[in-house]
């Protein structure tokens, strides 16, 4: 038996903010300061004082963050399972609020994926993998894989084999996502002003970019940037009494298929099928009810595969949402409206960027952004958010609905 349906909308996201600087800051930033700026900003945005936070959720840094804020939280969650950790934190926060343990949850992220090249991580970062002594590491480390792209490419090749798709099909994901980025001035790849290679791109550009892990060229891969973000989640009485618009957590679910890709049974499927089923069931809604989709895009294969898993496209045809323009600005199902991990910002764990964009779209504040910088507002009232962590390993799905 599932969780009681009373949990649906038992809490709302009441604010979402970023650190003052994201992307490629001129002066190197630490993860901790990216966290703190975002927390300060979300407190100012909502009018909820930091002292009212009684649950702290982060990917690996919750005790350090709570101490830094002088908090003594009643609920401490430091789940760190890759980029989907933040969607999973929202799930856990919803349950903790529903159970009456806490009133206000802070979900926070700070990650200096860019600055770390100069100054190191400066706190937090990384997620569990068992270390070099684990048996799965011993049986993987001899074979020259170097990070996420070298793993995800195997999934695209298998998808091509099973469904007859091609790498060019997936290039459309990068092209359309870049189109969204040109509408978001905060996106790293917004324009030639924000980055020498910014602005619109073509399928040929994607095909001809430097090869990283065949068939993935560089433009099939996400950025590596700095980012800090924080959201506050509160029970309905609080959500109704503050100045910001609530965005209701109608459904939430999480699941995992493996940790090491050695244990990925089907290279063309992820646990997003299971996590989205749980989220839809809690919400009493289905894929056809979704007017916006924010699907983690570490690589072009990731959101295309995820679209299939969360029921937005038939098996083997996820990439057509982009290729046929449905996911593009003006399309029937806007997707990754911030410009995605591919062209907006990806710090290593991108799940917080998804939450911030989901809040902005559904609270009708996408044009305001933070610090008066505009985004791109859609008319969506419902949104499916899916985070994917590790090597297509772990997923968290949220079904969010606007207040009106």
């Amino acid at each position: 038996m599932g969780v009681s349906s009373g949990v649906s909308k038992a809490a709302a996201i009441v604010g979402a903010a970023e650190s003052n600087e994201i992307g490629y800051p001129e002066a190197p930033r630490t993860s901790l300061e990216l966290h703190m700026e975002a927390i300060k900003n979300v407190s100012n945005q909502t009018g909820i004082p930091i002292s009212a936070i009684d649950g702290v959720f982060s990917a690996g840094m919750s005790s350090e963050i709570a101490e830094h804020l002088g908090l003594h939280p009643k609920y401490i969650d430091t789940t760190s399972v890759g980029g989907c950790s933040f969607e999973i934190h929202v799930h856990h926060a919803l349950l903790a609020i529903y159970a009456g343990v806490i009133d206000v949850a802070l979900v926070t992220h700070g990650e200096n994926g860019w600055s770390a090249r100069r100054i190191g991580r400066g706190g937090g970062g990384g997620y569990g993998g068992g270390g070099a002594s684990s048996p799965s590491a011993q049986m993987s480390m001899p074979y020259g894989l170097s990070g996420a792209p070298s793993n995800y490419s195997h999934a695209m090749v298998r998808h091509n084999h099973v469904y007859g798709s091609t790498p060019e099909d997936f290039a459309h994901v990068a092209v359309v996502t870049r189109e969204w980025a040109t509408l978001n001035p905060r996106a790293v790849m917004h324009s030639k002003e924000t980055h020498e290679f910014g602005g619109p791109i073509t399928v040929d550009d994607v095909n001809n970019a430097r090869m990283i892990s065949w068939p993935l060229t560089m433009l099939h891969c996400c950025l590596v940037t700095d980012h800090g973000g924080a959201v506050l989640i509160a029970r309905p009485e609080i959500a109704r009494s503050i100045k910001t618009n609530p965005v209701w957590i109608a459904g939430a679910g999480e699941n995992m298929s493996h940790s090491n890709m050695l244990e990925m049974g089907d290279f063309t499927a992820t646990s997003a099928f299971a996590s989205s089923q749980a989220a839809y069931e809690m919400a009493g809604l289905g894929p056809r009810d979704m007017e916006l989709a924010l699907l983690y895009d570490s690589f072009t294969i990731t959101p295309a595969l995820t679209a299939e898993m969360v029921g937005l496209a038939p098996r083997g045809k996820g990439h057509l949402l982009w290729k046929e323009g449905h996911a593009a600005p003006g399309g029937r199902l806007p997707m990754n409206t911030n410009g995605g991990g591919l062209s907006f910002n990806h710090s290593g764990m991108y799940g917080m960027q998804l939450l911030v964009e989901a809040y902005r779209q559904l609270s009708r504040t996408a044009e305001d952004g933070v610090n008066g910088i505009r985004g791109k507002q859609t008319s969506a009232r419902t949104c499916v958010v899916n985070g994917t962590g590790g090597s297509l390993s772990t997923t968290g799905t949220l079904v969010l609905v606007s207040d009106d």
Binding site: S140, L145, V157, R158, M211, S213, L262
Partner: protein
């Protein structure tokens, strides 16, 4: 030339695999209750959760499940890029990661999922040999 790529450090759990590799044998963990082979080595059978795990000598044969060509790599592997990584479906069940031999990394279109492969071992140090898989004729 001395082996210049990462060499794993065995633990008690994985030692039988490396003992076999040194002798040119592909040793695989098999549950003594449900008789299923699993990979990588476990303390508890991932299928039936028995803690009674034995080892068998595998056939050393399998097929390519999926692959990719790595252009970006570090250390000794960086000098060999591009090279082909692959997941191998073992004849005995479950799956291994490898660097695939007997294929042309510069012509990925010529590499076939489902190709038959056979294991071989390269001595990396006095005690450690690494398993690699090579595409063989049908």
């Amino acid at each position: 030339m001395a082996y210049n790529k990462p060499i794993p450090t065995p633990s008690s759990l994985t030692q039988p695999f490396f003992d076999g590799a040194k002798e040119g044998k592909l040793m695989l963990p098999r549950c003594q209750d449900c008789n299923r082979v699993h990979w990588y080595p476990r303390h508890i059978c991932p299928f039936c959760h028995s803690d009674s795990i034995g080892w068998i000598e595998g056939s050393g044969e399998g097929r390519v499940h999926t692959f990719a060509v790595q252009y970006r790599a570090f250390g000794g592997w960086g000098q060999e890029a591009p090279f082909v990584t692959a997941y191998i479906d073992l004849n005995e069940g479950d799956r291994m990661l490898t660097v695939l031999r007997g294929v042309d990394a510069n012509d990925p279109g010529s590499i076939r999922i489902g190709s038959r492969v056979r294991v071989e071992f390269e001595q990396a140090s006095e005690d450690i040999s690494i398993a690699f898989w090579r595409v063989v004729e049908e």
